[in-house]
Symmetry: C2
Subunit: 335 residues, 2 copies
């Protein structure tokens, strides 16, 4: 069963585990600091497909297949898959996963989708609704760039606060087996809106959501940042991380010494010219499913917070001058 503590943080009494995980990324990601840790690299931006969108779907398909393979499960043993991406109508997921025939529940939390999907998988496993549940998300630089910004051929100039959409996917199988890191608790995000309207500064828009969720989790559980080996955020980047520090400092919390942002981990910002860092549903998903869960396997991580942030805008709302509502979902992952 799932218990609720404090104002509503979910505590998983039987602690479902991430039994298998895998990541598939693009060439640029393979050249970054975590390059050697990913399961597979696709060197061509279209992979073996005709379009960027189909290439993104292939990332999900391959990450999901590898995650199932790594824990020895077949598609017919997976009771449901929670998946999402940044493409309109989440077609990266629907086209990517349709051939598996696994009961499918599409999720949308923008770049927070991996934490949301893992949370759903954990609730389904814990409640008995699924024996094995899969969580998969992806993003792709080229499909995102042309959908959200400009055609690739423009070669448009990026602002210093802009982030670079990660080409990558991550997949996790969640169950009540003996192996893998456990999901101990989760805090569902609330939508926050600080009236930021600059769609080239997502980090600043998302940082308040991260702060709100972190503070709520700590209040609900009575925990302190020092209780965790590491606090990972999804893709706040350099700008958003600085805003997060400032917001938490106002509440008397300093997480600088134990915080890492997946968007800052995946690229070498200077050498790889990614401005404020990486972003996209595939950013924290591929970092989780390589470096972070790998460090659990090796024993160097034992108890972390994983907070994925998402900006819940569209090009239409931006063109209409609307603000950028944001959200952050938190998972406490433990050994």
């Amino acid at each position: 069963m799932v218990k609720r503590t404090g104002a509503g943080t979910l505590v998983f009494e039987n602690q479902p585990r991430i039994a298998g995980y895998a990541s598939v990324v693009g060439k640029k990601e393979s050249e970054g600091p975590l390059g050697k840790l990913f399961d597979k690299v696709v060197y061509n931006s279209r992979g073996d497909e005709d379009t960027y969108e189909a290439a993104e779907s292939a990332l999900q398909r391959e990450a999901a297949a590898l995650a199932m393979q790594k824990c020895g499960l077949h598609t017919d043993e997976i009771d449901c898959v929670f998946a999402g991406d940044l493409l309109n109508q989440c077609v990266g997921s629907s086209f990517g996963l349709m051939n598996f025939g696994i009961p499918y529940l599409g999720q949308y939390g923008a770049c927070s989708t991996m934490a949301q999907s893992l949370m759903m998988a954990a609730v389904f496993a814990e409640s008995g609704a699924a024996r094995n549940a899969l969580a998969v998300t992806s993003s792709h630089f080229c499909s995102a760039e042309r959908q959200y910004r400009y055609p690739m051929e423009y070669g448009s100039v990026r602002t210093p606060t802009a982030q670079w959409t990660v080409t990558g996917a991550g997949a996790c199988v969640v169950n009540h087996g003996e192996n893998g890191a456990g999901i101990r608790a989760a805090t569902i995000g609330r939508i926050t809106d600080m009236n930021i309207t600059d769609a080239n500064n997502m980090g600043a828009a998302m940082a308040p959501a991260a702060a709100e969720t972190i503070l709520r989790f700590l209040a609900d559980t009575g925990a302190e940042p020092e209780d965790f080996d590491r606090v990972f955020t999804g893709d706040l980047g350099a700008v958003g991380s600085a805003v997060l520090y400032e917001l938490l400092e106002r509440e008397g919390l300093d997480i600088r010494g134990r915080h890492s942002d997946c968007g800052m981990m995946i690229f070498d910002r200077e050498a790889q010219d990614v401005h404020a860092g990486g972003s996209g549903c595939g950013c924290c998903a591929s970092v989780l499913c390589s470096k972070i869960l790998g460090d659990f396997d090796s024993g160097s991580l034992k108890n972390i917070l994983f907070i994925a942030t998402g900006a819940l805008l569209s090009t239409t709302t931006s063109q209409q001058g609307k603000s950028i509502p944001s959200i952050a979902h938190l998972l406490n992952i433990t050994c």
Copy 2:
């Protein structure tokens, strides 16, 4: 706890209930056969807002507020909201619900989103993850038309198989209280793809998904269509319903006598010139949250199947010549 029966239909042992529900629709819907049953009608296509998109968000906001009000619950008693819509990045939901401050989990199943959201709400209630969970979806003729087809000003001609996107929203509060229809079982849809590529014939694309889910539910539970007062599909319309009958007949099942399609119920097809019927996330949501749940309240319905279907395409995949993968999620609702 949630039990799994057969190949995976979920059975809710403590049967969470739909404690409150509400529907808000547009002018055309108010002029249809169910016109008098909706809680609120917005007569202007922009409502009190500047844009169609903001008007759609307002539909969700008002339906959610009414549903909570009708069961006497305040926003801080709702532990999470599952919501989705057809707009890119589901901004109808994020902008519509953000001011409530309810922990938010965005869902995407195209026109199947209401069944999916209700299923999630039921699993969360049953597992203890939520005391009260809200499920909300919407669609809007004008925001959908200009996003998926042509600018409204074109006055484009519609094909005979085309459906009319419903302007409407439905909201349900799910909990373990004493009142309301119960959610007894649910079957999560699988993505089916029959290689239909005509985006003006969604009914035909979605019918195989509905057939697959219905057959799986019946096989999993040992039930027969005759066990149910009524079998409601989401928005197959005239074309899709005919395809569904044919597909089920091949398996020896005849549901004609007890089947109704929400897309056919909400409009008078002849008088209102809607071609094959209504569609959109708000179609089956507003019909469920008016006529169907109203008939439970009056005792004229006691046990039904509610199968919402969705087409998981985008304009990009259609322009790229891809097929239309579809899905159908099923709920067994009982008194």
